[in-house]
């Protein structure tokens, strides 16, 4: 999925997403607005693509991030763990314009991880005896556990602070969240970075995600890095 002869480095979001199409499944990294792929989201919002299945913890927040795709009516299905703080999604969910699948956050993470790492299914106690277990196989080990399946995607769009031309990534502080997992789970992972560096610039010991999981990388620009809820010491 890289372009032969040119390596993994792309000029910008539009260049890296040219073959992104309607009906595709896309994972987007970020917790709330922390660590979201701002440039790739803007690029998809400007593309004539619709009927997307979006897998992301919050599907945007406070009117920002993936909310742009919601407002453009580009999203058909949303898979997430939390919709609080996202009135656009709540409203489209109630109006039946977006089909929302709520997944417990740990199961959500693990299903994405499983997809990337070749695990076909796993049993977890999370959700046993709740609505989440409805229609799923439940097996008792030390306690009842629910059988959960991997979550795959056509594309993952993620953001890292620093990345090299091979796709080795380094994330800043708590911005890592779902991003490395999603990078492993998608057929094509498009990474935007604040700093695109030559190979060797990120010490091998400090690589958070090995570049083997990354197909495309570009230098992002104009980052807002919004703070959602500012709390300061008195």
């Amino acid at each position: 999925m890289t372009r032969h002869g040119r390596g993994k480095v792309f000029a910008n979001a539009i260049d890296a997403l040219t073959d992104f199409e309607s009906g595709m499944t896309v994972m987007s990294g970020g917790f709330g607005l922390c660590g979201i792929p701002e440039n790739s989201i803007d690029a998809i919002a400007a593309m004539p693509v619709k009927d997307l299945t979006v897998i992301s913890n919050n599907i945007g927040n406070s009117g920002r991030g993936l909310v742009k795709l919601l407002r453009n009516r580009q999203i058909k299905n949303a898979v997430c763990s939390y919709v609080g703080g996202n009135p656009d999604l709540e409203q489209q969910m109630l109006a039946d314009e977006v089909h929302v699948t709520l997944v417990p956050q740990g199961t959500f993470s693990e299903r994405i991880r499983a997809a990337g790492l070749g695990i076909r299914a796993f049993y977890t106690p999370t959700g046993a005896g709740t609505m989440v277990a409805e229609g799923k196989e439940v097996r008792v080990f030390d306690k009842p556990c629910v059988l959960e399946l991997p979550l795959h995607a056509d594309f993952a769009i993620i953001k890292a602070q620093r990345g090299d031309v091979f796709g080795n990534l380094w994330f800043k502080e708590a911005a890592r969240n779902f991003s490395p997992l999603m990078a492993m789970a998608a057929k094509v992972t498009v990474v935007e970075v604040e700093e695109l560096v030559p190979m060797g610039e990120i010490p091998a010991e400090d690589v958070h995600l090995p570049g083997i999981f990354v197909q495309r990388i570009y230098q992002g620009k104009n980052y807002r890095n919004d703070i959602e809820i500012l709390k300061e010491a008195p």
């Binding site: 703080g85 740990g106 993470s109 046993a128 609505m131 708590a174 709390k231 300061e232």
Partner: protein
């Protein structure tokens, strides 16, 4: 009836009862709502590691004015700082840390807890849906799951019930419930009364005798 006429703990006192259970060096995950007030009430010399499920172990306090980092937040999406010895990790590792039994305490809010230790705290049918977030994972795996909630709902009925009426967050998962009236351990169809707030009588709990187990508490944790 005014609250001042009734003996009970304040919210702060309820949280201090929870903090009293923590031991030095322990790890704690704090749910959204009442439990988020715990760090402010914690004695400064209590050396603990607060985990935030978005991928932080070692949450400290709030950043100084003008020093907040957009990439340094807790699971409530609020800006934070970290302590010495803190670490960052991805969400799968974070929930593995929880589910795998490595976190000592998980403190959550609740809507209902029943006599088998099942918890309901994520959805009220017919009301606005927010999603369960990490709550369903958090209740399975932490060594002690503690629910902090008011004793009564808005209709005046106890939120400690024989069976939860609301959709469950987790089955048989709660170790301890702290309300303004006391501390209770749900187990085997009954609530053991571990402690009552000063001046609170058993009658004030408004729980049927068949739901209560009132053996003497050792006063020591674990109960």
């Amino acid at each position: 009836m005014t609250t001042s006429a009734r003996a009970q703990w304040t919210r702060e006192e309820m949280l201090r009862e929870v903090i009293a259970l923590f031991h030095p060096g322990c790890s704690v995950n704090l749910g959204i709502g009442l439990p988020t007030m715990i760090p402010e009430l914690m004695p400064p010399d209590l050396d603990i590691f607060i985990q935030s499920e978005n991928g932080v172990l070692g949450v400290s306090g709030r950043p100084a004015k003008g020093e907040a980092s957009p990439t340094l937040i807790n699971a409530g999406k609020e800006t934070i700082t970290i302590r010495k010895g803190a670490s960052f990790f991805d969400s799968a590792l974070s929930f593995g840390m929880i589910r795998g039994g490595h976190i000592d305490f998980c403190v959550l809010g609740g809507m209902e807890v029943d006599s088998e230790g099942s918890l309901a705290n994520w959805i009220v049918p017919g009301q606005k849906i927010t999603g369960m977030g990490g709550a369903m994972d958090l209740v399975h795996g932490a060594k002690q799951v503690i629910v902090v909630m008011t004793h009564f709902n808005k209709s005046g009925d106890p939120k400690l019930r024989e069976k939860c009426a609301l959709p469950l967050t987790g089955m048989n998962c709660v170790d301890l419930v702290v309300t303004e009236l006391g501390i209770f351990a749900p187990r085997g169809g009954k609530f053991s009364v571990k402690k009552l707030a000063p001046g609170v009588s058993i009658d004030a709990l408004k729980l049927s005798a068949s739901l209560l187990r009132t053996e003497e508490s050792s006063g020591k944790f674990p109960y």
